[in-house]
């Protein structure tokens, strides 16, 4: 069975003062479109970006990104 990486970034943005994709992108050096692609699971960020995202939301990477079976 195929697996894909999903994440909770959209929810976490909402819970962190309704942060926009553009604001998150600016803080981690990504464009708004790339943040949107990550949220949709269509692009897997580099380890560095994943760690930056985790640091911004104050959570471990594995709590934000995880495998999910299709």
């Amino acid at each position: 069975m195929a697996e894909r990486i999903v994440n909770d970034i959209r929810t976490l943005r909402f819970l962190n003062g309704e942060m926009t994709q553009g604001e998150l992108g600016a803080r981690i050096g990504l464009t708004r479109q790339t943040v949107a692609a990550i949220e949709q699971g269509r692009y897997s960020p580099s380890l560095e970006s994943a760690l930056r995202i985790a640091r911004i939301f104050g959570k471990p990477v594995e709590e934000i990104f995880r495998w999910e079976e299709d």
């Binding site: 909402f14 942060m19 926009t20 994709q21 050096g29 708004r32 479109q33 790339t34 949107a36 580099s46």
Partner: protein, 153 residues
């Protein structure tokens, strides 16, 4: 509706680099299509190397001018996206696209190397074949950029 949702609904979802690729692909097809049609419509004996070079120079100049104008318009409509440095996904797409284009160029040049000695009668035909190989590689690069942005976001 919260601010995050509003931004996602209103903002352009197409990356600036993808817009550029669409534009470059369209301009390349139109300009080099017209160039090729013009060259092929001229009888082989009637087309001198000088005329060929003039036609190619006109095509190249037109392409550059049209691209510069259109990209300026895009940039004026979305200055932040135009000024933003390439991020990791942009660089990844760029590398993949260059790889596709390089493979295309190598394959076409290889085939031309096999076929040209038998089919090219005059000098400009060899030059035309090389130009078309480069145009084909450039078109593949633009297509690869579009496909990779679509597939990866």
């Amino acid at each position: 509706m919260n601010a995050a949702m509003r931004e996602e609904d209103c903002g352009s979802s197409m990356p600036f680099q993808e817009k550029r690729a669409w534009l470059s692909l369209a301009v390349t097809i139109v300009i080099y299509g017209a160039f090729l049609a013009n060259v092929l419509a001229t009888p082989v004996g009637a087309l001198t190397m000088v005329r060929f070079i003039i036609l190619f120079t006109v095509a190249m100049t037109l392409q550059g001018v049209i691209l510069a104008i259109c990209i300026s318009i895009f940039a004026a409509r979305d200055p932040e996206a135009a000024k933003a440095p390439l991020d990791e996904r942009d660089l990844q797409v760029s590398r993949r696209s260059a790889t596709w284009a390089y493979g295309t160029l190598m394959a076409v040049v290889f085939l031309l190397g096999l076929g040209l000695p038998y089919y090219a009668a005059v000098g400009w035909q060899i030059t035309l074949a090389m130009i078309l190989a480069m145009v084909a590689a450039d078109m593949v690069r633009h297509i690869a950029i579009i496909v990779n942005y679509r597939r990866h976001g």
